[in-house]
C-alpha cells in the first residue's frame, strides 16, 4: 500500500475514534476521572503529619538543633497552647495525636488511642530526641513513610493508565471489526486494490497513537504539583511497555470482534473482559492484599504484567532491563491471540 493510502486510512480511523464521544468518555475521560478522584482523595493519606499540641515551653523541641528541627517539622504539625487540661481534653477527643509538655528534664507525652500510628510516630520522635541523637532517627522514620508505601498517585497513575489503554485498544478493535463487517465496510475495502494487512496495519497504528496520547495525558495530569507524581529515572521504558500492551489488548479485541456477530455483543463481551482484568490486574488496588491464588490466576491477564512493569519503571526506579520479560509476555500474548483471531476471522456477516 502506498503512503498516501495508508495515511488517509489512518486519518479516517483516527477521526472515527475521536468523534465517537462514547468511546472517548469510556477510554479517556472515565479513567482520567478516576485518577483525579483517587489521586486527589487519597492525596495525603500516607504523608499526613501527626497533629501535636505543645503545652507551654518544651525545650526538647524548641531548642533542638536546626537539622533535627527540620525532621520534626516533616513529621509533626505543631500547635501551641498554655492550657494543660484543655490540651488533654483535645487529645482525648482524638483531635490531636498527642500533647507534649516538659517539666525540667522530664518530657511527658499524652497520646491518643484513636490513631496508633501517629501516636507511635510522636513517641518515636521524642525518644530519638531524648537520646540526643536525633538526625539519623528522623531519616529512618522519613524513609519508612516515603518509600515503603507508595503514595496513592504513584500507584494509581500506572494502574489506571493500564486500564485506560486496555479499554481503548480492546473496544477500538472489537467494535471496529464487528461494525465494519456488519456494515459491509470490510468487503468494500476488500474490493479496493490495497493489501488487507495495510488496512489492519492502519488500525493498529491508530490504536498505538491513541495509547501514547493517553499516556501523555495521564503523566501530564499526575505530574502537576497538585498530584505530585515523581517519575523515576527510567520512566521512558513505559513507552515500549505501553506499545506492547496495546498490541496485546488489540489482539484480544480482534479475537472478540472476530467471534461476536453484533456490535452490542462485542461491547458486552469486551466489558466483561476489561473490568475483571482491571480489578485482578491491579489497576484499582495493589495485588499484595489479595490471596496468593488470585495473584497467580491474574497472571493470565496481560494487564497485570503491564501494570506491574509500569509500576517498576515509572515509580519504583527499576532499570530498563527489568521489564523486558513483561514486554516479551505481552508480545507473545498479542501473537497467540491474533493467530487465533485470524483463524476465526470472517469477511462477511453471512
Amino acid at each position: 500500500m502506498n503512503v498516501t493510502a495508508f495515511r488517509s486510512l489512518v486519518r479516517a480511523m483516527f477521526l472515527g475514534f475521536v468523534r465517537d464521544r462514547r468511546a472517548l468518555v469510556f477510554t479517556v475521560l472515565f479513567p482520567l476521572f478516576f485518577l483525579l478522584l483517587f489521586g486527589g482523595l487519597f492525596k495525603n493519606q500516607s504523608t499526613s503529619k501527626a497533629d501535636v499540641l505543645l503545652v507551654g515551653n518544651v525545650a526538647a523541641i524548641d531548642q533542638a538543633p536546626p537539622q533535627a528541627r527540620a525532621g520534626i517539622d516533616s513529621l509533626l504539625k505543631i500547635t501551641r497552647t498554655n492550657d494543660p487540661s484543655a490540651a488533654a481534653e483535645k487529645v482525648r477527643k482524638g483531635d490531636y495525636a498527642a500533647a507534649i509538655s516538659q517539666r525540667g528534664g522530664q518530657v511527658v507525652i499524652e497520646y491518643s488511642a484513636a490513631d496508633q500510628v501517629k501516636s507511635q510516630i510522636v513517641q518515636g520522635v521524642m525518644q530519638e530526641l531524648s537520646r540526643g541523637n536525633a538526625r539519623p532517627a528522623f531519616q529512618i522514620s522519613a524513609k519508612r513513610v516515603e518509600d515503603e508505601s507508595l503514595k496513592p498517585i504513584q500507584f494509581y497513575t500506572p494502574g489506571l493508565l493500564g486500564w485506560a489503554i486496555a479499554s481503548a485498544a480492546m473496544f477500538g478493535a472489537s467494535a471496529t471489526l464487528v461494525t465494519w463487517r456488519t456494515k459491509g465496510t470490510l468487503r468494500r475495502i476488500r474490493l479496493a486494490p490495497v493489501a488487507t494487512t495495510g488496512v489492519f496495519g492502519a488500525r493498529i497504528g491508530v490504536s498505538l497513537g491513541i495509547a501514547l496520547v493517553q499516556m501523555a495525558l495521564f503523566i501530564g495530569v499526575a505530574t502537576t504539583s497538585f498530584f505530585g507524581l515523581q517519575l523515576s529515572h527510567y520512566w521512558w521504558m513505559a513507552i515500549p511497555l505501553v506499545l506492547a500492551g496495546t498490541l496485546a489488548f488489540l489482539s484480544i479485541g480482534l479475537l472478540i470482534g472476530a467471534w461476536a456477530t453484533t456490535q452490542e455483543s462485542a461491547q458486552t463481551i469486551t466489558q466483561l473482559v476489561v473490568l475483571p482484568m482491571a480489578f485482578l490486574g491491579g489497576s484499582f488496588f495493589p495485588l499484595d492484599i489479595t490471596p496468593t491464588w488470585l495473584q497467580v490466576t491474574a497472571n493470565i491477564f496481560p494487564l497485570k504484567h503491564l501494570n506491574a512493569a509500569m509500576l517498576n519503571v515509572m515509580v519504583r526506579g527499576e532499570g530498563p532491563a527489568s521489564v523486558l520479560p513483561q514486554i516479551g509476555i505481552l508480545l507473545g500474548f498479542a501473537l497467540v491471540a491474533s493467530l487465533v483471531a485470524a483463524r476465526i476471522f470472517r469477511w462477511d456477516a453471512t
Partner: protein, 315 residues
Amino acid sequence: MEGRISLSATPSVAVMAETIVVTGLRKTYGDVHAVDGVSLEVPQGEFFGILGPNGAGKTTTLEIIEGLREPDEGDVTVFGMSPWPRKYPLLRKIGVQLQASSFFERLTAREQIQTFGALYGVSARKADDMLEVVGLMDKADTRVEQLSGGQAQRLSIACALVHDPELVFLDEPSAALDPQARRNLWDVLREINTEGRTIVLTTHYMDEAETLCERVAIMDRGKILRMGAPAVLVRDLDAPVRISVESGILPADQAHALPGVEKVSDDGVSLVIATRDASAVIAALADRNALNGVQVKGATLEDVFLELTGREYRA
C-alpha cells in the same frame, strides 16, 4: 495467470468486446445450490440487470464476478482476467457500490470519498469533483450518519465511481428511496452509462430495470430463467393488454361481444377489457363512442417476472 490473459487475447473481436463472461457457474452452501449453472455475457458499455426474488442467487453470482467469493465450478472472466483470487489491476477497473451503510463511521461526505479515493490513489481534488457529479457538494461537510437515504445512496455511488472504473456493480441502488430521489438517482446512473461504462445492476424494482437496463436476466433458485431486452421479454410473454374505460357507458355483455375480447370485468368504476388485439377493440369502442377515460395497459416486466418466478408469497 499468464494462461488466462493470453486466452482472452487470442479469440475473435466479438469475444473481446465482452466485459464479463461467465460460464457454468456453480456455488453450493451445504445443501443449497445458491448458484446452479449460470452463464451470461455482458458486452462493454451495456446496462445489464439481474432480477430475482430474495434468495435467487443474484448476490452470490455478483460476489463471484466481483471476486469476493470463489466459485465451486465454472469460469468467470472480467476484462479477460479471472477475478479470483483478487488482483489489483482488475480491482482498479471495477467499482462496486454496496449498501449505503458501508461507510467509515463518523466521517463527513468529503472525508469519506477522499478516503475511498486514496485507496485507489485518487487525489483529494478529484474525489471532490465526484461529489459534484452526484450533486452532494452542499453536503460535503455533513457526516454520513446525518445524510438522508437518497444522499447516502448517491454518496455510496460516488464512492464506487471515484476511481473512474470501466465496470460498475450496483446492488439495489434505489432501495428505500422516495420517488423523487429514485428519479434523481436514475438520471445519475444513465449519465454514468452514457459515458461508456458497463453497468451491472441488481434490483427488486421491475420499473427500475425496465427503465434503465438494456438487457436483464431473471434469476430464481440459482438459475437464469430468461435473459434479454425488457421489451422483448414482455412481448414474448404474449400477455393480454388491459383496456379500461369509464364504467356505465357500455354494458359488460355488449363489451364481451366486441371483436378480440377475451375477458371483461366491471367494478363499478372502470370497465376493463382484456385482449390480445388492442387496436380492434379500441376501434370498436370508438365506433360506439365509449372511449371516455380510456387507459391501455400492456404487460410489464413485472408480469414477466411473476409469470416466471410464481406469484405465491415466499416468506
